[in-house]
């Protein structure tokens, strides 16, 4: 990754990230409505929502909350820029963790009991998905001998062939990352299963708009993780990666509409069981493929 390629990726992600994220969310809401036998909102509804939130009166219990949320947004943008520029995947992972951290601090800063419950649940979510994400980086290094995401461009076969179980583990925790049922513990897009409004209880107007935009960026980045498994040497495989990422997003919408929220104990224990099983079995699989025992 050169400074130039990072700059190009940064500008492209800043502009295209929210566009794609907004379209994904808009499509999500229409597909969800159709699955429930409804017509659903206009395709650009998420954009209208954010425009409205930006025009609302500004009021906050803690004047620093807005800065924390802006920092969360900046960390997400940097993380995405490093990812799509072919940068270090560990840096990507830790920057996005930092973004979650600022989001949690923003919720705690208001001292509202409902926001604190949401923030506590967000911490449990981070605890649940983080092992799999870090193991993803480790397995990435085992296959490509590099932590740079650009290394997939020199592979002869896609990562998913060597690491099918790691991909399965990623799919499991992706539901947490995309904030979909049954793992949407900290805040849900659907009001009917919410304790006031979870971690976003005290975020209103402009702050809530920043949260929405951050979520758009995050969705694009996390679907990028999925696409990473389907890119190898020929540049045309990028199209395959995009198609697979969209298919996975559709799968997540189906899951979102099929399940009610679970308890945090279930989410935490099963995401750790799945993460550890998937990575242990992947090690065995790799050893067999390489013809030796590690």
């Amino acid at each position: 990754m050169t400074p130039l390629s990072f700059g190009v990726a940064l500008v492209a992600f800043v502009i295209l990230g929210p566009l794609l994220g907004c379209f994904l969310t808009g499509a999500d809401r229409i597909i969800t409505a159709r699955m429930q036998g409804r017509v659903g909102p206009p395709f650009l509804q998420p954009y209208y929502d954010v425009r409205k939130l930006l025009a609302k009166e500004r009021r906050s219990l803690n004047s620093f909350q807005g800065y924390y949320l802006i920092l969360a947004l900046i960390m997400t943008i940097l993380s995405g820029a490093f990812f799509f520029a072919g940068g270090n995947i560990l840096l990507v992972v830790f920057l996005i963790s930092l973004s979650s951290l600022f989001f949690i601090i923003a919720a705690y800063s208001t001292r509202s009991p409902y926001a604190e419950v949401g923030a506590g649940r967000e911490i449990i979510q981070v605890l649940a998905y983080e092992p799999m994400i870090i193991l993803l980086g480790v397995f990435f290094f085992l296959i490509t001998d590099s932590f740079d995401t650009s290394a997939v461009a020199s592979l002869e076969l896609p990562l998913v062939v060597a690491l099918p179980l790691v991909f399965a583990g990623l799919l499991f925790i992706l539901t947490i990352k995309l904030r979909k049922s049954p793992f949407d513990l900290s805040f849900s897009h659907h009001a009917h299963q919410e304790l006031v409004k979870g971690i976003t209880t005290e975020m209103s107007g402009r702050s809530l708009a920043v949260v929405e935009i951050t979520h758009w960026y995050e969705n694009v980045l996390f679907l990028g993780y999925v696409g990473l498994f389907f890119v190898w040497a020929p540049p045309s495989t990028l199209i395959l990666a995009v198609v697979v990422a969209l298919a996975v997003y559709f799968l997540e919408i189906v899951i979102d509409n099929s399940f009610a929220r679970v308890k945090w104990q279930f989410m935490l224990s099963w995401s750790w069981i799945v993460s550890l099983l998937c990575s242990a079995l992947s090690l065995v699989l790799l050893a067999v493929l390489n013809g030796f025992v590690v």
Binding site: R38, G40, P41, Y48, R51, K56, K197, G205
Partner: protein, 186 residues
């Protein structure tokens, strides 16, 4: 049409009454009427809401709750009184414990009658309210939106019933009872 009109988020609160209107509010949120077509989303959080739908007549206990919910909502916001009880107090108007419609507690922008209110009337009332919401948004952007004045803290004792206040009626009744008791003793 601006974005505030395209994305009104709803908070609903059921004050004291038969609850029929609140069930109709929920009916309007079901797939049959599918209000999300207009970008309407039901939220449980006053800080995210633009529309405040209230059903039922208001009694003294509910005034602080309704006022708190109203004050937690951010401008631009509008209040819709859903059903005849929320508009005027309805059949409960002359009960000793009710104060009247929602407008005894907070300023109301749209009055939607009905007993129980029909989901179609609720949707009509929301569409009517969106014009007011847009007007408030323009005023807020121009910096000239005056915060709506809350009505004076009402009390059930001062409520006029058949020409006199409840407090006066009680005083008269007690005086009568004492007089009768005095006559019996003699």
């Amino acid at each position: 049409m601006s974005e505030s009109v395209k994305s009104p988020w709803v908070l609903h609160y059921d004050a004291s009454s038969c609850n029929g209107c609140d069930i109709e509010v929920l009916a309007a949120l079901t797939p049959l009427y599918d209000v999300e077509r207009f970008g309407i989303i039901n939220t449980g959080n006053p800080k995210h809401a633009d529309l405040f739908l209230i059903t039922g007549s208001v009694n003294e206990r509910q005034v602080p709750i309704i006022r708190q919910l109203y004050e937690q909502m951010l401008e631009p916001k509008i209040v819709i009184a859903c059903g005849i009880c929320a508009c005027t107090g309805g059949v409960f108007k002359e009960c000793y414990n009710t104060l009247g419609g929602v407008d005894v507690a907070i300023p109301v922008d749209v009055y939607a009658p009905g007993c129980a209110i029909r989901p179609e009337t609720i949707i009509d009332a929301v569409v009517e309210g969106l014009g007011i919401l847009e007007e408030k948004r323009r005023l807020l952007a121009a910096g000239s939106l005056e915060p709506a004045e809350l009505p004076k803290q009402p009390s059930a004792a001062d409520k006029p019933v058949r020409g006199e206040t409840v407090a006066a009626a009680w005083q008269k009744a007690i005086a009568n009872a004492l007089q009768t008791a005095g006559q019996e003793e003699q």
